[in-house]
Symmetry: C2
Amino acid sequence: MARKQGSHSDITGPKVRAAALRLIARHGCAAVSMRQIAAEVGVQAGALYNYTSDKQTLLFDLMRRHMEKLLAAYDETLITGTPTEQLRAFTLFHIRYHLPRRDEVFVSYMELRNLSPENFLVVEGLRRNYEDALEGILKAGEADGSFTLPDRKVTVLSLIAQLTGITNWYRDDGRLTQEQVEDIYCDLVLRTVSAPR
Amino acid sequence: MARKQGSHSDITGPKVRAAALRLIARHGCAAVSMRQIAAEVGVQAGALYNYTSDKQTLLFDLMRRHMEKLLAAYDETLITGTPTEQLRAFTLFHIRYHLPRRDEVFVSYMELRNLSPENFLVVEGLRRNYEDALEGILKAGEADGSFTLPDRKVTVLSLIAQLTGITNWYRDDGRLTQEQVEDIYCDLVLRTVSAPR
DNA sequence: TTTCCAAGTGAACAAGCGTTCATTTACAGT
DNA sequence: ACTGTAAATGAACGCTTGTTCACTTGGAAA
């Protein structure tokens, strides 16, 4: 039976993932050694292997967890109303979920190439689920005539690239507050789905 | 005096950069060893140091060259007419320049974090020049009333993220030809700068 | 108080790393 | 044919890598 108190595994496990995430986001997976991660946790390198079978799996866990938490958070978010209202809600959700999780976003996009083929497929599949959610909204908007799109699937990818790009330049102490950025992007996104005059 | 014939340096130099670009784009800078690059060129690792002072400089050269060639190609492109026509020309230029150079794009965006601070500033400055070119077009469009933007600088970053994102999903044997993608994005870009009805 | 075992240590492993350099190779100019 | 030198070799350098494992530690349960 697991210890109820004094057990470190419930503490060290998350610490390992947090340290790995921070370091990998800053330097890249191959550039970070298990010893560096261990040092950040305050432990010897060997101890990491109580929490992951190897480095590749540690990276995969970070990415899979990020995508699963994203989908879970999205499922818990109420996306209702007209397609236009839904699209606005999606935009706000995307910005609000991603902006405080820049390390996760960076790792999940940048380190895809370092996953084994089967691990890649898992993460890719999760990402597709998220894209499908947006596509559903666009489809509804096309159906009831609120949106006019040149190509639905391309619009999905374009919108997500546009929104996720915010994480690359937004600064808390920058010219714009997060609320201002949210307003600007709600505007830009709605323009994208409206037929030109 | 450099040899005019029989000299390998004019051949091996570009080969080194091409091999480094290919491998780094696929696996990341830290994951690729000088020996792997040398093997791809067909040479021993030591020979690489006739063409670069060290690995960091090799990476920096790839990124700086990419940005400089991009700016040079842009300068040679005739961007004239109304702001709307200019924006359309910019969109086509961006897609046509970046799509055949996906390795360069990937490396230039993904490996920024592995540059030394001073090298980072150089590449960052070159990128800003490119962004400024687009901002100039948007400014002209605002001035003559053809564009209405919620925020000019955010729109610049949003448009570039949107356009560059194409390199992540476009496939030559995919559903859409490059021409179709160009048309779709010209449409999307123009929507972005037009005030909603 | 004793027992037990999860958690962490620290040394060790073979392999690979970036980089240097004395040496060899082979071609251009004489 | 001879010379000079650019280009490449291949061995060597000290160091780091991911991973393993016999061993220690310290708190929970009996």
